[in-house]
Symmetry: C2
Subunit: 221 residues, 2 copies
């Protein structure tokens, strides 16, 4: 007979599946993959896509061998300096600070920025013991004070940790005479006021821009 | 300036990331993993869990080498006959037919069944060109007509394809003198009638069971 909490216990006569179970366990190193999804993935690969599984294994081995950090911007690359830092087409006077390589890719996809980057590979998070040393802000300071960079654009996340990180970096760099800016906050493109949260709308009010300057001539920013 | 459909195009100066991109592409062989999730997984592994990535690679290689199908029940195993089929504790007169090894595990977790299994590794799906030959129903017939099996319990899914598969198998096996049953359909345990769909409720009405038999003595099943 079925018991009430049967699904919490392993089946007594279940086979020790060995390498299939080991694969399901190993798949749980992927972010967002729980035990059920991992089992589904393992069965799918074995049933329908063994060549894909072998290709994935090779890709994992190659990437964990080859991928390192760029000496200039700290993003992932296979060279000592990444292609973006080597590119002659980027403006070396602008440095955009992001938390992760994924954020760098996201900013690139806007096609709205042609300067260089610095990737923190993290954010300040005192509660988790991640301070300025752990994300090695000394490297950012060395990079930003190379004499060529004029403006540092802070593009960390607009979470409390990202904001705190931006604030901390801004003070460090302003003390060294650099112009420091932060991405604008406000109503998203296509946003309807009715559905925008109050905090964002309040910020959009505070940061409002003149569309026709008053006679006094006060501009914005 | 940002263009309207910027995110559809790759960044012109983006670095050819090589093995990182290759890893993100390879991760898309996993079911339910799209391009964004794959990129997030690749970056996570490289940034936070390279030992996990290498372990996953080994597990993939080992499983795609070692895992094969059981000669008796067709489920995944590393031996010629799986531990469940070899077990002396199971009732060999009952054979439960499921679509996938995951379904087998799900039935085992009920602790409500102590017979043996047959895993179809699929279902009939004429629109996809999957007929009786493709899921090799001849093997099931050979297995079910070994002279020991008395009852075949059809536990394919209650989707249209699963139902069609159960119907087809029932006819094949009934013609060979076997007793064939199908999992009961009805209101789930803990279900509230208000939230049960009409089709399920209609089935529960048709398949209702006597709790006090009428004077005539008609029982159920």
């Amino acid at each position: 007979m079925a018991t009430r909490n049967a699904d919490a216990r392993p089946a007594p006569t279940a086979e020790p599946l060995g390498s299939l179970d080991a694969l399901a366990r190993a798949l749980r190193c992927l972010p967002g993959v729980g035990p059920r999804a991992a089992q589904r993935m393992a069965l799918h690969l074995l049933q329908h896509d063994r060549p894909g599984a072998r290709e994935l294994a090779q890709a994992l081995l190659r990437a964990s061998e080859a991928v390192r950090h760029c000496d200039r911007c700290n993003t992932f690359t296979e060279d000592s300096v990444c292609a973006l830092c080597r590119s002659g087409k980027r403006d070396p006077a602008q440095l955009c600070v992001v938390e992760t390589p994924a954020d760098l890719v996201t900013v690139e996809q806007t096609h709205a920025y042609d300067g260089l980057y610095f990737v923190l590979m993290g954010r300040l998070s005192p509660l988790d013991g991640i301070g300025p040393k752990e994300i090695r802000l000394d490297r950012l300071i060395r990079r930003a004070t190379d004499g060529v960079v004029r403006e540092v654009i802070l593009a960390t996340n607009f979470t409390s940790e990202g904001e705190a990180t931006a604030h901390y970096i801004a003070e460090l760099l302003a003390a060294r005479g650099l112009a420091v800016s932060r991405l604008a906050r406000g109503v998203p493109v296509g946003g309807e006021l009715e559905y925008v949260d109050a905090g964002t709308l309040a910020q959009a009010l505070r940061d409002r821009r003149w569309v026709a300057a008053p006679p006094g001539g006060a501009g914005n920013g």
